[in-house]
């Protein structure tokens, strides 16, 4: 035997073991006395002492066990492998939504009207707050909440409760600095309207979940919100993130910002002016629309009473909407502009054409009057406009007939969507021509029996101001994508409604309204040529289903010889004062004066025409 045998595995070493070369099945041979230790007694009787049989048994046993293992292995890995793996992953895997940063809403100059700010929600683990009263005393002054209210929220055994929501990061910093146990914060965001109620009815507001519920916030919700991101990570039993495991983050994409056409300075003046008039006239509501007639852009859209979007909860539904778009009214005399434009455009009259206006007129079984009683008068078309004669307008409209009148009204955008896609927008209504009753024709001619919203009414004048071409109104000047690039919304639809010559003649007639002898001398702006039309329409009241009160309005254009701006004012149900010229005129004057300065529109220096009013 070689000496190499010595380092063999221990098994081969054991002196008690039988050498392999020994004949099998035999009891272990005795060696010399004292050679080997005393045998355990069972060895001699145990049959497995036979190494070969023992090996075989062991092999089989091991094989059996291993095959059970193997079977289980196949079952776990091959048969149920994928299910189990995904189940396991599901246990560890957590997916969190990362909210996208909401886009801002800006005014035409890029000044913010709505912003999203980082904020914190203050949460508490009540079991960790040892002395709720003391903690509440410390928090009270910081949060501006009564300590006993806070103490109630901090007492109990809930592991998670919101104490306060929407704190500014600085407020949270102050609380964190107190190192109070059991208080935690949660990141969130809050919508801020830095200008308060300025343009609130256009901008709208968001709900508690940060989703737009009114105004542009609602209209362009998907654009503003942006696609949320997700964060996926594996976490251990303790909730801790497993750092080396797979994790993936899909970043949220910030929302698109919207630059409106609203000029916040003009908007401010418009809101101030209409608010003070509505207050003084003790009216229900009022609105002002300022438009650029060439682009259709709405520069200001004021609606009062308004609300503060930072405190939406305290506002009524009506005040949150935009009355200039959601409320319709019968336009009254401002509608005469449409009728007389149509008559001129059809070549059936000129501003100088004289029409005999009787004191009363019977049509369709009804008797029509003018606002101020008069005997028989000879008025020119310009005079009919300046004096706002209902009878004169009816007589003029009969020169073209109802079908044409209806066609023109539709072309001016009456009863059609404004194209702003504003939430809650009302389209107004003009009955289809084939459903007209005998009195429809005369009433529609002077602006009753059809309804418009304030923007539609302004758009009629913008069409005249833009030499007869109607440009669809718009509120968005551009979209600012998260990467800083801008996208201009599609160009507004344009429609030629009347000829440029007609528009010019109508503007000259409108100047007579503001001039001496017209119905709205208060709307005049010294140095400028201003054209406009008053309206004092009977107001349909839903509460009684009848006419009650009036809607006083004034819509004007300046400078009349080179129109740059249109301002439409309407005052709903005034109790002190009644006439459009009286109530709307001064508001128009104030807003237009400011808008002309802000838009840097100098006076043209030309003299107003002096059209004859009477025959």
């Amino acid at each position: 035997m070689s000496v190499r045998a010595t380092p063999r595995p221990r098994g081969a070493y054991g002196r008690t073991q039988a050498p392999t070369g020994r004949p099998q099945g035999r009891p272990r041979p005795q060696r010399g006395p004292g050679y080997g230790r005393p045998k355990p007694p069972r060895r001699s009787t145990f049959r497995l002492a036979d190494p070969r049989r023992r090996g075989a048994v062991l092999l089989i046993a091991t094989g059996l066990v291993l095959s059970v293992f193997g079977a289980r292995l196949v079952e776990l890995q091959a048969v149920r492998g994928e299910t189990l793996a995904s189940e396991a992953l599901d246990q560890r895997l957590r997916t969190q939504e990362i909210p996208a940063m909401r886009g801002a809403i800006l005014d035409s100059a890029g000044e913010p009207l709505a912003l999203t700010m980082e904020a914190r929600n203050l949460t508490a683990d009540q079991t960790l707050v040892t002395d709720p009263a003391a903690v509440a005393d410390q928090l009270g002054p910081i949060l501006g909440v009564a300590p006993d209210v806070l103490a109630a929220r901090l007492t109990g055994d809930r592991r998670f409760i919101y104490v306060a929501k929407g704190l500014t990061p600085e407020t949270w910093d102050r609380i964190a600095a107190l190192r109070l146990p059991g208080l935690f914060s949660e990141q969130t965001s809050r919508r801020v309207y830095p200008a308060g109620d300025l343009a609130a009815n256009v901008v709208g507001f968001v709900g508690a979940d940060g989703k737009g519920l009114g105004g542009m916030e609602c209209a362009d919700e998907t654009l503003l919100a942006g696609p949320p991101g997700t964060q996926t990570y594996e976490r251990g039993p303790g909730g801790r993130v497993i750092p080396t495991a797979n994790s993936s983050v899909t970043d949220a994409q910030p929302g698109t910002s919207i630059r409106l056409t609203i000029d916040r300075d003009i908007q401010f003046v418009a809101q101030q002016a209409i608010a003070s008039t509505v207050r003084k006239a003790r009216a229900d509501s009022g609105s002002v629309v300022v438009m650029d007639p060439h682009t259709g852009q709405i520069l200001a859209l004021a609606s009062v009473p308004t609300f503060n979007p930072n405190k939406v909860a305290s506002a009524t539904d009506g005040n949150r909407g935009n009355r200039a778009l959601t409320d319709v009214f019968e336009p009254g005399s401002t509608s005469k502009v449409m009728t007389l434009s149509a008559v001129i455009n059809e070549g059936k009259a000129t501003p100088y054409s004289v029409i005999h206006v009787p004191s009363v007129l019977n049509r369709g079984g009804d008797t029509f009057h003018d606002d101020h009683p008069h005997g028989g008068l000879d008025l020119t078309l310009a005079g009919i406009m300046a004096k706002s004669s209902n009878i004169g307008t009816i007589l003029a409209s009969e020169r073209i007939g109802g079908k044409k009148l209806y066609k023109y009204a539709k072309k001016f955008g009456i009863g059609e969507p404004t194209g702003l896609n504003f939430p809650g927008e009302a389209n107004g209504y003009i009955p289809p021509h084939d459903k007209w009753s005998p009195t429809s024709m005369p009433t529609i001619a002077f602006g009753q029996g059809l309804s418009v919203n304030a923007v539609q009414a302004a758009s009629v004048f913008a069409t005249i101001a833009n030499d007869g071409v109607r440009v669809e109104p718009s509120l968005v000047s551009e979209y600012v994508l998260p990467d800083g690039t801008t996208q201009v919304p599609p160009a507004p639809k344009t429609t030629r409604v009347v000829s440029a010559a007609t528009a010019k003649q109508v503007r000259a007639m409108l100047e007579m309204v503001v001039g001496p002898g017209g119905t709205a001398p208060m709307a005049a702006i010294p140095g400028y040529r201003v054209g406009g039309k008053t309206g004092t329409a009977q107001r349909y009241s839903e509460s009684c289903g009848c006419y009650s009160g009036v809607v006083a309005s004034f819509i004007g254009i300046a400078p009349a010889d080179n129109p740059q701006l249109v301002v439409a004012v309407s005052v709903n149900n005034p109790r002190a004062g009644r006439y459009g010229g009286q109530l709307g005129g001064p508001v128009f004057q104030r807003v237009m004066t400011y808008a002309l300065q802000a838009r840097e529109v100098p006076p043209t220096g030309a003299k107003s025409p002096n059209l004859p009013l009477g025959g």
Binding site: M1, R4, L115, A195, T593, A598
Partner: protein
């Protein structure tokens, strides 16, 4: 029995039955002192008991023992190095994480600050706040849009004095302001530094009106000069305007009378409006405060 003897015995026992196949042919290579020793050993295994004393057991074990030691050392070393490496990696990862979180904290803090300041700014720049501030400074909205054509001195629009209460007395410059505005340095000596007994607002107004006229007639150069004056919302603009009066007096009077007369009428009791008009030509853009007329062209 000694252990050696037992080994021999054992070896014998093993070789007894299996004979030659158990023999290791490599045995010849084993470093045994006597080259013939192998022969003896072999023979001995075959049964020559006389050869037994020649068998020796010690030498062959040496190299294996040594290599095992080295191996153990190697493994231990590798293990050690591995552990140290893991430690280093973990430490550096942790260090990186600390740095990242620290920088993130800094970033968050700065972002917060920026946001808070932005919000403050947005609120302060809101039109209602600006209007209130302007009114507090004694400004009133202009009644009529009036434009001054700086090329030909023509006034577009119909100027009309602004109405409204003068809410505060214009604050005149104090010596402390001298460091702020250079314009004061020149005339500080002969200018009232505070509203004294002989202070007459109307005189100041008239002076400002004249200055306005001078600025209007002086054309571009005059405008440049006024452009360097303090910002219009600062009351010290009035002082600067008064300073200009001297320049106006010294300046060429030609063409001044007509415009000055006009302007004077306009601005007699609205110093602020007019002082603003001067500065605006150089500094103001439209729509800033909603309170002033803006010249064009």
């Amino acid at each position: 029995m000694t252990s050696t003897a037992r080994k021999h015995d054992d070896l014998l026992g093993v070789t007894d039955g299996t004979a030659a196949p158990a023999l290791d042919p490599d045995a010849a290579d084993l470093p045994i002192g006597n080259p013939d020793g192998t022969e003896y050993a072999t023979r001995g295994a075959r049964g020559h008991k006389s050869a037994r004393p020649h068998l020796r057991m010690v030498a062959p074990l040496r190299p294996e023992r040594a290599s095992r030691g080295v191996f153990a050392l190697l493994v231990t070393g590798l293990l050690g190095i591995g552990m140290v490496l893991i430690l280093v990696i973990n430490t550096s990862l942790a260090q990186g994480a600390f740095t990242v979180s620290e920088l993130q904290g800094q970033q968050a803090e700065l972002a917060q600050r920026e946001q808070a300041l932005g919000e403050q700014l947005a609120a302060a720049a809101a039109p209602d706040r600006l209007e209130a501030q302007a009114r507090a400074l004694g400004m009133v909205p202009s009644e009529n849009p009036v434009f001054l054509n700086v090329a030909n001195g023509r006034v577009l629009g119909r100027p009309k004095p602004a109405v409204g209460p003068r809410s505060v007395t214009p604050r005149l410059l104090t010596p402390a302001d001298a460091t702020v505005t250079e314009a004061v340095d020149n005339g500080a000596a002969d200018l009232p530094v505070s509203p004294g007994a002989d202070y007459d607002p109307a005189a100041v107004d008239a002076a400002a009106a004249q200055a306005a006229a001078a600025a209007a007639t002086a054309g571009d150069s005059g405008l440049d000069a006024s452009a360097s004056q303090p910002v219009p919302l600062d009351p010290s603009a009035a002082q600067a305007a008064t300073t200009d009066t001297k320049a106006a007096k010294a300046a060429d009077n030609t063409g001044k009378a007509k415009v000055a007369g006009k302007k004077k009428k306009v601005t007699e009791n609205s110093l602020w409006q007019d002082a603003t008009v001067i500065d605006m030509t150089g500094q103001l853009s439209s729509g800033d405060a909603g309170l002033v007329a803006v010249p064009v062209e």
